[in-house]
């Protein structure tokens, strides 16, 4: 599948925003702290920025509002509805923290729950597609939720070391969710590669009763929408190396930096060392998740490619 930059940016940034919103909503931060107020603004900006980015790949973005109508059947529609619903309690929480130094428990729990539901809907857009066997695994939504929580908790640690909360609490959460995310992701990838193909050129053409089917001539010499959108092959051969780089950048590096940040903050209180370590952890984590999301698309094979010999 073609890894569209707009979709990668959307799913990673909004995932980070929803993860952060979940932790904010659960009341893990001191509502009066400046860093917490910045955290609320950051979560809202990440979610809104992701949503705007997701409309960039539309053919007719001016009609995007129509996408809220078919929540009965469409996960994409459900995602849009849940994203907007999440804004309500989250904005109320942000208002209470920024202007009244208070944390609202009910609105917070609602914002946290709706954030997770939204991420689940995003994942199910992909997870519900039978045509892409790699994605239709039951673990797909689990990986999305864990990456959302771990990137949110990593940003949360950055806020915590600047006085918003107890640094070790957020660092422990971030380390645990990061480790869990990559363990599940590795399992997901290995499982997906081990699956026997659901659809083959033989079932796609119904000619399997004669023998082995191979593409002889494609419909046109040049690429078309289908081969560009669903026949992406560039750099697939480097997929294993890229996945290793993703684990290193998004797993090992941030875990070490998060521990450093928590220790530094514990030993010296909020300071430059802790801030820098947590800041670099956020950057490394995002870079790793970005590569992971790129591979999520680039490695996925679509059933239609059985007609195109790819």
């Amino acid at each position: 599948m073609h890894p569209a930059l707009s979709i990668i940016v959307f799913t990673t940034l909004s995932g980070m925003g929803y993860g952060l919103a979940t932790l904010l909503g659960l009341g893990l931060f001191e509502p009066a702290a400046l860093a917490t107020k910045i955290g609320y603004l950051l979560a809202l900006a990440l979610i809104a920025g992701g949503l705007v980015s997701s409309t960039l790949h539309l053919g007719n973005p001016q009609r995007a509002w129509r996408a809220l109508s078919q929540w009965k059947t469409s996960w994409l529609s459900r995602e849009g509805v849940m994203a907007i619903l999440t804004f309500l309690p989250l904005t109320v929480c942000a208002y209470a923290s920024i202007f009244h130094d208070r944390h609202l428990v009910l609105a917070g729990v609602l914002a946290a729950g709706l954030s997770l539901v939204t991420v689940y809907c995003t994942a199910m857009i992909y997870g519900s597609l039978r045509t892409v066997q790699l994605w239709s695994q039951p673990l797909t939504p689990v990986t999305y939720l864990l990456f959302s929580l771990s990137s949110g908790a990593t940003v949360g640690t950055l806020l915590a070391v600047t006085g918003a909360s107890r640094p070790w609490l957020l660092a422990v959460l971030a380390v645990l969710s990061t480790v869990a995310a990559w363990m599940v992701k590795r399992r997901w990838r290995a499982d997906g590669k081990a699956l026997p193909p659901l659809t083959t050129p033989e079932t796609a053409t119904g000619l399997g009763f004669i023998g082995r089917v191979r593409l002889f001539e494609r419909p046109h010499i040049n690429d078309n929408y289908l081969t560009r959108e669903m026949g992406f092959q560039v750099a697939r051969k480097h997929a294993d190396k890229l996945f290793g780089i993703a684990i290193l950048l998004g797993g090992f590096v941030p875990v070490v930096l998060l521990v450093v940040a928590a220790l530094a903050a514990n030993a010296m209180g909020p300071g430059l060392t802790a801030f820098l370590a947590a800041f670099l952890a956020v950057l490394a984590h995002y870079a790793g998740v970005f590569v992971e999301r790129w591979l999520f698309f680039a490695e996925a094979r679509h059933a239609v490619m059985n007609y195109y010999g790819r």
């Binding site: 053919g59 659901l198 796609a204 669903m230 059933a303």
Partner: protein
């Protein structure tokens, strides 16, 4: 809207494509593009039409496949390989995954005849329906930014302003080999249903659970090439008289 019809549609209009007859001439591809670029909805645009990277929107494409008999590693080892030309357009599935994923309600399956259509004024061009379709039946038009697909020539089949003989999909009307047939597959007495029953018509990708309406008639068994071809090895077994003597002389030289 994007819920599928609750009850089976009373009619199941669709195509039956005879893989034994298709010669791969691409006439249906051209006639489809010609009719549909001026018919229902936005035109079927081409990008870089006179340049080296020409590509465009098509609702019907022909692939050609080579089929090697089971047990063969290379051609000719376990019987003859076959070339099968393979026309492919929307199969108007009963359980159409492209319809239910649509977030806007632009994609729908008609309750009366089962045709799957796109209301282009509501389509946002997200492309999710093309991802949900295992057959590659949907293509985004890059100029209009909306999803295009086979309409079963809905603007021909019910069109009383054209001759009755023309009230079939453009591809069916055009096919010079008569490999494409149109009709109601819900009616067991229709010509297409009888054809499917007689020839063992098949579903493409049954494992995807889409329950396609269109059926494909598999290629019939073929006489082995060795049984029908003239032997190429030289022999003088039938020679008599002068030619038999000449054969003997030449043999001894």
């Amino acid at each position: 809207m994007t819920s599928l019809p609750a009850v089976p549609t009373p009619k199941k209009l669709g195509l039956v494509i005879d893989l034994d007859v298709c010669v791969g001439c691409h006439a249906c591809v051209i006639s489809c593009k010609e009719w549909n670029t001026g018919g229902y909805g936005a035109a079927l645009s081409d990008q870089d039409p006179y340049g080296p990277d020409v590509s465009g929107t098509f609702l019907n494409r022909i692939h050609s496949f080579e089929v090697l008999p089971v047990g063969a590693e290379k051609i000719g080892e376990a019987g003859d390989a076959r070339i099968v030309h393979f026309p492919k357009s929307c199969l108007h599935c009963e359980d159409a995954p492209c319809v239910t994923v649509c977030p806007t309600g632009a994609s729908y399956k008609r309750g009366e005849d089962g045709i799957v259509l796109v209301d282009e004024d509501m389509c946002i061009g997200c492309g999710l329906c093309a991802w949900a379709c295992p057959y590659g039946a949907r293509e985004m038009d890059l100029a209009a930014g909306v999803m295009k697909k086979c309409t079963l020539c809905v603007d021909r089949i019910y069109n009383e302003t054209i001759d009755e003989i023309d009230r079939v999909p453009s591809c069916v009307r055009t096919c010079p080999a008569n490999a494409r047939h149109y009709g109601d597959l819900a009616d067991p007495q229709s010509d297409v249903s009888k054809m499917v029953a007689a020839r063992g018509g098949i579903d493409l990708m049954p494992e995807q659970g889409t329950k396609p309406v269109n059926k494909y008639l598999p290629p019939r068994p073929r006489t082995a090439l060795a049984d029908s071809a003239v032997p190429l090895a030289e022999t003088s077994a039938g020679a008599s008289g002068f030619f038999a003597w000449l054969d003997g002389v030449l043999e001894r030289i």
